[in-house]
Amino acid sequence: MSDHTAQEMMVVAAARALHNDDVCFVGIGAPSAACNLARVTHAPDITLVYESGTIGTRPTVLPLSIGDGELCDTALTTVSVPEMFQYWLQGGRISIGFLGAAQIDRFGNINTTVIGGYAAPRVRLPGGGGAPEIASHSEKVYVIANHSTRTMVEQIDFVTSLGFGRDGNGRRRHGLKTQGPALVITDLCLMEPGADHELEVTSLHPGVTTDRVRAATGWDIRIVPEPARTPTPTVDELTALRHLYAATDRAHGGDA
């Protein structure tokens, strides 16, 4: 089905990377769309956890915030926020942590704190929230971000959440046993860390060229010799995703 947008491709590609037995720590926006798309398509038993304390949620519309009532209403149980971060995240119960990024570098380090200097930032971003410990304690991290030279940069201004560190060895140095960024999903391609932990393009979305990816990346991006071609979203995938978005728009009073 070829009438999909690049955003839809990104969300569908992220959903496909999730499995029935995953326990996902879900952020708002594209990660939430991807996780719920997986749940309503190929992974009906996937466990979705939101940092607001809701465990095993099955929302029918996408939440606007990580604490929408829908999440609690459809959850198996709702725990306190200290318990969520202590027993469930730091306790090692999360298989996939989903993170967004304002900036990301070649080693999957993420900035969501400031553009410019910390003391007098050019742009003050929301900050880390749950991300620093999602990055260290989820078995794997999936990053989802739009692909542009603004986002994919040579040096990020601030490491909010550790990928593999600025030199690629940060996780080992910090004694972390978790895998770290295992997959970066953009609107152009999929990237995975190579043996030295530097991200490599492993799959190009339909119609995307290697030149386009290079032009949209702020460093000299590695592309594996024969990158895969991401399968086009199926009719079922697109229908389910659009249905989710439509239900969400109705529930949230449309665009503001």
């Binding site: 304390g53 929408d68 971060f85 930032p121 900050g127 929230g129 260290s136 009073g253």
Partner: protein, 271 residues
Amino acid sequence: MELLSLRDAVARHVHDGDTVAMEGFTHLIPFAAGHELIRQHRRDLTLIRMTPDIIYDQLIGAGCARKLVFSWGGNPGVGSLHRLRDAVEHGWPGSIEIEEHSHAAMASAYAAGAAGLPIALLKGYHGTDLVEHNPNIRFVEDPFTGQRLAAVPALRPDVAVIHAQRADEDGNVLIEGIVGVQKESVLSASRAVVTVEEVVADLAAPSPNSVVLPGWTIDAVAVVPGGSHPSYTHGYSDRDNAFYKAWDAISRDRDTFQQWIRDNVLDGESP
């Protein structure tokens, strides 16, 4: 516990210069109480909140805050908190000091405060630059294995302000749904003010393990139906997501913001 009007509860228990925690993790955010702080012109507050949300955007824009302790400062699902950004980026209406943590650290710091511990330990802050910019993130060594653990000071607010579903006549308070750090913020604080949807004869907690704060842990209860709007109260109201989206435009511009505060807060009645 005293049953007071919101005006009296705030006048008596929230003072200029106080460290104030107004919690509610997306749910049960005590907006009405925040508006009362603005109406009573509180100044030099140190505001603690994991997610400043619109409530602190309003307090910061209205000039109530000297310092913000937080871990995620956005408009959830919408974008920036423009009043917070304006204060940080341009010092309007005054400069604001920030102390920035992760959620994991703040949640544990509230729990440590409630437990009378001076610090919270966490397995966290690995490889983040926050460590270099926040002197309140330090490290201790596990005396058994030598493992390095992050430590942050416990949160001990002067006053906690929360919204909850209901209280009984003894001031026992039921909190249900996304309970966030409601209990921890109250138990970590020297004083506590709770706004509730209603006071009832029987608390009707559905489970023996329902989240209940005994009246003797609370200083004042004020009945403020809808006191969490545009946030929500599980079982009483829904989140006004449209308002969260609309706030983006209202808050982007200083004049529009000030007009909104005049029309909706300053000229409003104290509940």
